[in-house]
């Protein structure tokens, strides 16, 4: 029995060893702490520097630990002064910003005009490799601190001047009346001195001036935030803190929410939406967020830009049954698009219920006619490219293609074209290598129609992936920027939007909803226009 016996021993030893480790590692640091909200999180892609964070996971934390000059109202999206006392301009080009007095960072350092100017200069200087540096591109002197070629010739932006402890001035390259709306964005956050002096310490445990302060940060695992004692703003936390738990997959977080190991989950997988209401006993909400999804045409390719193609592009847009797709594939967590912006802007900031008109309305007969009149799909076959590595784009791309195929009466006229990684996908787009339409997603930085137009469609715009160029559109943007009256400026932007829609540069598909589910332990869960939970409002039942 020697063999069998030793096998038994080995198995026994393994079991004992496993058991021992199990007991040893029993310190349950993730169990519920009274008054603390446990929320889902993912590993941020970049270090938690405000000007270096361009995705929602890092944004979630920055939102909690920084209070910027402006703050977007979670309900209306309106940009209100937060750390700013006032932001004034006479000519829409020179701005005077007064910072509220007596503000402090969580480590006790005062928040001054210098805190903002230093932070912005740091964010703009190209050698600091901050990914949001282009946000400072409108400030005078950006071409010196971040020249497209070669080394920077200046360390600071010449357009920024500190007047006194609580006042500084900003000079822009050109008139831009809506510029102050941007100042609620994280890239414009103030930074404490320790950010520059003890950078490693900052990265290990970021310090800000917002409603929460970081208590501990276990990279890749979790972050514990507690109310910032030095915070004096309106939105004081209604709970004793937030525990952000990193999840590898949204289904895992959802399972944990159902099992009571998680309190707030703002990333409910689309295929669970149908069950979410019953699983969560009604503790669930879904509302439009500032995310717009579209299919963009490569207008730099002659076959998509020649005469008559406007009709084909419009026909393709009309061939898509947005209502059916948002209902069946997304269970209503997308809202069919009627313009190029997002409902969260409201009428005041440029959202429109009808500007897209019949282009965005499903009409198979008319669509088929238009596509035929325009000369048909180039080559008779088209693909829609998407990155296959995340967000299950496959489902909607297949649905859009099926919708088009049913209209043109050809099973294989349109097929999806998955690209392995997001990086490869973006590289093909930025290098202008796309020969066929591709998916486009735009998550707003600030709730203003201008953010949905200038970067995407202005000649040479930073994210003008279609390489669209239209002098009339550019002229309207310029006029709107110089217009002091916000309402008139918004109207001018809307006219510009109409130009893009008439040319069907891209097919507006739908607005993405923010979703959230929560446990019975918490109440007052809302999500803001950026689809993030408003953590300060959440109350924990005792």
């Amino acid at each position: 029995m020697r063999g069998a016996k030793s096998a038994t021993w080995v198995a026994g030893a393994i079991v004992v060893a496993l058991g021992a480790t199990a007991c040893g590692g029993g310190s349950s640091s993730s169990s519920a702490e009274a008054g603390v909200v446990r929320a889902n999180w993912g590993d941020p892609q970049n270090p938690l520097e405000p000007a270096n964070t361009n995705e929602v996971l890092g944004g979630k934390v920055l939102d909690m630990i920084f209070s910027n000059l402006k703050r977007y109202d979670p309900k209306t999206g309106e940009a209100k002064n937060a750390s700013a006392e006032s932001i004034e301009s006479k000519d829409q080009q020179n701005f005077t910003i007064k910072v509220k007095k007596g503000l402090k960072f969580s480590n006790g350092e005062p928040v001054t005009a210098q805190s903002f100017v230093d932070a912005w200069n740091y964010g703009a200087l190209s050698t600091n490799t901050q990914k949001n540096s282009y946000f400072f591109a409108d400030i005078e002197g950006y071409d010196k601190v971040a020249p497209a070629e070669g080394k920077p010739t200046a360390k600071t932006l010449s357009g920024l001047k500190v007047v006194d402890d609580h006042t500084f001035t900003v000079k822009l390259n050109q008139k831009l009346s809506t510029w102050p709306v941007r100042l609620g964005y994280n890239a414009f956050a103030p930074l404490p001195k320790m950010f520059f002096d003890k950078h490693d310490e900052y990265l290990a445990k970021p310090v800000g001036n917002g409603p929460y302060a970081v208590e501990s940060y276990d990279k890749g695992k979790q972050m514990k935030l507690v109310p910032n004692k030095n915070f004096t703003g309106e939105n004081k936390p209604q709970n004793k803190g937030v525990l952000l738990k990193v999840y590898t997959d949204s289904n895992a977080a959802y399972a944990d929410l159902q099992s009571g190991n998680l309190d707030v989950n703002d990333d409910i997988p689309a295929e669970q939406i149908k069950n979410a209401k019953s699983d969560l006993k009604g503790n669930y909400l879904s509302q439009p967020a500032g995310i717009m999804q579209a299919v963009t045409f490569p207008l730099y390719k002659a076959e998509w830009n020649k005469d008559g193609m406007e009709k084909v592009r419009k026909g393709l847009s009309m061939a898509i049954d947005r209502k059916a797709i948002t209902d069946k594939v997304y269970n209503g967590t997308r809202t069919p698009a009627t313009d190029l912006t997002s409902p969260v802007l409201g009428d005041a900031n440029g959202y429109s219920k009808d500007v897209c008109g019949d282009t965005c309305t499903y009409n198979p007969a008319e669509a088929k006619k238009l596509i035929a009149e325009g000369g048909g799909i180039p080559g008779g076959k088209m693909t829609i490219s998407y990155n296959a590595d995340k967000d299950s784009h496959k489902q909607w791309v297949d649905a859009v293609c099926n919708s088009i195929n049913n209209v043109v009466g050809d099973d294989k006229a349109c097929v999806g074209n998955p690209v392995g990684t997001f990086g490869d996908f973006r590289n093909q787009i930025t290098k202008g290598e796309m020969a066929m339409p591709f998916r486009a997603g735009w998550q707003m930085d600030y709730p203003q129609i201008e953010n949905f137009l200038t970067p995407l469609y202005a000649t040479g715009g930073a994210s003008n992936d279609a390489k669209f160029s239209d002098p009339k559109f550019d002229e309207l943007l310029k006029q709107a920027g110089a217009e002091a009256d916000t309402k008139k400026a918004t109207d001018l932007y809307k006219q510009a939007e109409k130009v893009v829609l008439d040319k069907v540069v891209s097919i507006p598909l739908w607005y993405q909803n923010g979703t959230a589910g929560w446990s019975e332990k918490v109440s007052d869960v809302h999500i803001n226009a950026f689809s993030l939970p408003v953590f300060t409002d959440i109350k924990v039942k005792s």
Binding site: I325, K328, N402, G420
Partner: protein, 314 residues
């Protein structure tokens, strides 16, 4: 590099490998036509085994629907209408509809081609490379073993997902051919290790040592004496691998680096059905069931072939 000791005692040949000759089958590896061979015996045995016939019929059926899917369905796998999304079975649509509102029955029938091709081609390719490398490494030992085994180790280190993404993005792959190539390149070292160990074990069986002592040449030794006895573990691993290759294609699709549309495959359908399991289990049941049936057919075939090759069973 394992070196074998000389045999303790050169016993008389055991198991009648190649002792009383008869004409081998046309694909018999031994070109000097002997009147009766082990392979001939095996073939005869196989023809008497009912399991062989069941599996052969199943495999034949799979091959036929792979070639002519329209024999079994007149519905197009591409005719999809969201109005039917996730509907269960109904008249004319026995398997129901998937998320896109496509007919699951038609997609299961049409999916056979890509899936069966991926399964069979990958297995054959990986087994041929694996047996060649593993067999030679095990048989010759020494430097051969070091070189061939270490080459295998290098490939074993590559994560399949990295390989998949590289294939999909650099080679702009996504066709059945590239997926087969990728999985075979990353899959052969496993079969090579198994083949090597089997050859090492078989090599020092008494009858092999005896054959060597009687002056049998290397190719003859390998094909006549070692191969039949070393094949069993390789067949077992290869038949299971065939199934795992088909479902690995599903995993690659799940991670977004498998076959590209408009190819229809069980893998693609299984991967898109997986997350809908609570809402529409029928979407998963049928393609996964078809996959099971295929694996079953090949495992049974493998068992039958293995039994036929085992001289101790005669």
């Amino acid at each position: 590099m394992p070196e074998m000791t000389e045999p303790v005692a050169a016993a008389a040949p055991q198991g009648a490998a190649g002792t009383d000759p008869q004409p081998g089958p046309a694909n018999g590896p031994d070109k000097q036509a002997k009147p009766r061979s082990l392979w001939g015996d095996a073939w005869r045995d196989l023809r008497r085994n009912p399991i062989f016939y069941i599996s052969a019929v199943l495999i034949l059926f799979l091959i036929v629907i792979s070639l002519w899917p329209s024999l079994l369905t007149s519905t197009s796998p591409y005719a999809c209408d969201l109005a039917h999304s996730k509907q269960g079975p109904s008249a004319g649509h026995p398997f129901g509809f998937n998320t896109q509102g496509c007919d699951v029955y038609a997609r299961t029938v049409y999916g056979a081609r890509a899936s069966v091709t991926v399964g069979i081609c990958t297995t054959v390719l990986a087994a041929v490379i694996g047996c060649l490398f593993g067999g030679l490494a095990g048989f010759f030992g020494g430097w051969w073993d070091s070189l061939l085994s270490r080459i295998g180790d290098i490939f074993f280190g590559i994560p399949i997902l990295l390989g998949g993404i590289v294939f999909l993005s650099v080679i702009r792959g996504g066709s059945v051919f590239t997926v087969v190539l990728l999985m075979a390149i990353l899959g052969w070292p496993q079969i090579a290790r198994i083949a090597r160990s089997a050859v090492i074990t078989a090599k020092q069986q008494d009858y092999v040592q005896a054959a060597r002592a009687l002056g049998a040449g290397t190719p003859r030794m390998l094909l006549r004496h070692i191969a039949p006895n070393a094949l069993a573990p390789v067949i077992v691993v290869a038949t299971i691998a065939l199934g795992t290759y088909i479902s690995l294609e599903a995993t690659l699709s799940f991670l977004g680096v498998g076959l590209k549309p408009p190819t229809v495959s069980w893998g693609i359908d299984i991967s898109s059905a997986a997350t809908e399991i609570r809402n529409a289990p029928h979407m998963l049941l049928y393609p996964a069931g078809a996959l099971s049936l295929t694996v079953l057919a090949f495992i049974m075939l493998g068992d039958a072939v293995r039994d036929a090759l085992d001289p101790k069973l005669r």
